[in-house]
Structures are given as structure tokens and as C-alpha cells.
Amino acid sequence: MTLSDDQIRSLVHALSITQEHEIDCSECLDMVAEFAERELARRPIPDALETVRHHLTRCGECLEEYQALFTALKRMQGHEENEDRPD
């Protein structure tokens, strides 16, 4: 396998943030709804949910899904607020 220097640098950076225990994509999915709600409401993130934040730094797919979830929640929340607003 021949990797470019930039790819090696990306990998070395990934190693520098690698933890001994990391959650996988299924565990992330189990917890990401609570994580997104807390982030949206700017509520504190408990230690148990920090594993989600770390997973999102390592897994591009889960990050993409989380960002879409956050966007959806934000838009749905805005939609509900508009519906509740008196004319």
C-alpha cells in the first residue's frame, strides 16, 4: 500500500485522537438523538454522551447523519414555532 504524505498525516492525526474504547456506529445511533437534542437546546453533555462527540470526530458517515438530524430538528422546531405564533 502506498499512501501519500497527506494521507499519512491524516492517519497520524487520527491516531492522536484514538481512544482505547470507542463506540461503534450502532451505539452512536442509539445515543445520537439525545446528543442532538442537548446540543440544540445548549444543555450540558453528560460524560456518557461525550463518547458520541468523539465518535463523530472519527466517523464521517455518522457525522453527516448527525448534521442532517440537527438541521432537521432545527427546521422542525422553527416550523412549530411559526405555527404556534398568533397571526
Binding site: M1, D5, C25, E34, L69, M76
Partner: protein, 205 residues
């Protein structure tokens, strides 16, 4: 957990008299939410959204017991639907692209081989990169190398899983095991986390 979140699993249960109404309500809600999350990206028309929500509904009904009430039920449901949506979008994007084809076409890993220090690169950085190349060659299994190679070339884990006939979780674990092994070896060679950050000059990957 509020009352509505408690009620959703009960309303969706097979013996619930309210099941049909709950299914319709959830389906319409998810259509709206998934559309909002995908922001009308390419390939996300109404037919696609209907298929995604249909697949997600089946998955949600099969896994009602996994809803633990740590979030709103609907947030949990949207997260599942978005995973279904992105998995399908990635599959379409990477369809017909195999690891072998990428290698043959030379699209993959157009890397520089050890050719001496770049004049703009510090000697320490060059040494670290050379060590990494050596560790990848000697410390990883062929599966781990294939996985890293694909990941570093932007192939999503979903697609790597399909091509390696693994689950997405197994691909993540394969990568995690490889990173842990490489990190251990780096540390044995005297490169701790801080040392690596210093050598790379704070690069963010």
C-alpha cells in the same frame, strides 16, 4: 420523557387499537423531517423520501424495544430514517466503484514513495511519516490495510462494508483496531500524542 414519547411505542404496538392512526402520523412526520434534514440534495426527490420512510418505519417497528426514552421518540425515529437515507445515497454514489477498479485505474493512493525529505517539510515530520509507512506495512493485517486505504481515499464505511462483506460496525472496529495497533507502535517508538501534534504542527487531519 414526556407522555407523548411514552405513548408512541404503545400506540405503535401490534395490538394497539390506535395503530393505523399512529403509523400514518409518524409516516407524515418523518417525511417532513427527513426532507428538512436532507435539504433537497441531489437524488432526494419524493419517491426517494417515500422509500426511505417506508424502510425506516419497518426498522423502527422492529426495534421499538430499543427506544429507551432518552430523547423524544420522534427524534429517535428521525435519526433512524436519516441513517437509512444516507446509507442509500452513499450506495448509489459508490455503486459500480470497487476497490480493485480504483486501484487499477490508479485513482487510488497516488502516493509519494519515500523519496527523501521534502524541502518544505521538517526532518522530524519526514521521519514520522516514514515510520508510519513502515508500521502500516509490518503491523497491520491485509484487511486492516485495505480498510485504511479505502477510508483514506474517501470511501464511506457503508461502501467499504459492502465491498469487504462486513457490517458497518465491523468496518469501524477494524479501523479502530488498526488505529490502536499503530498508536501503540508509535508510542513504543517514542511518539506520544503530544510529540505527534508537535511534529505535525497542529494539523487537524
Amino acid at each position: 420523557m414526556n407522555m407523548a414519547d411514552l405513548e408512541w411505542p404503545m400506540r405503535l404496538a401490534p395490538d394497539s387499537p390506535d395503530r393505523e392512526a399512529a403509523l400514518l402520523e409518524l409516516r407524515l412526520f418523518m417525511l417532513k423531517a427527513v426532507r428538512a434534514g436532507l435539504s433537497r440534495g441531489p437524488g432526494t426527490g419524493d419517491d426517494f423520501l417515500e422509500d426511505v420512510v417506508q424502510t425506516a418505519m419497518v426498522r423502527i417497528l422492529d426495534h421499538l424495544d430499543r427506544f429507551e426514552g432518552r430523547s423524544a421518540f420522534t427524534t429517535w425515529a428521525i435519526a433512524i430514517a436519516l441513517r437509512v437515507a444516507f446509507t442509500e445515497l452513499r450506495r448509489k454514489h459508490w455503486n459500480n466503484v470497487s476497490l480493485d477498479e480504483l486501484r487499477e485505474k490508479g485513482v487510488f493512493l497516488q502516493g509519494e514513495v519515500d523519496s527523501g525529505p521534502d524541502p518544505h517539510e521538517s526532518v522530524a515530520r519526514h521521519r514520522l511519516i516514514a515510520l508510519m509507512r513502515q508500521l502500516i506495512r509490518t503491523q497491520l493485517s491485509p484487511h486492516q490495510r485495505d480498510m485504511l486505504e479505502a477510508e483514506l481515499n474517501g470511501m464511506p464505511h457503508d461502501e467499504i462494508a459492502v465491498q469487504m462483506r462486513l457490517t458497518r460496525n465491523a468496518v469501524y472496529k477494524l479501523g479502530h483496531d488498526a488505529r490502536r495497533a499503530l498508536r501503540r507502535e508509535l508510542e513504543s517508538a517514542g511518539y506520544g500524542v503530544e510529540e505527534v501534534r508537535t511534529v505535525l504542527g497542529g494539523q487537524e487531519g
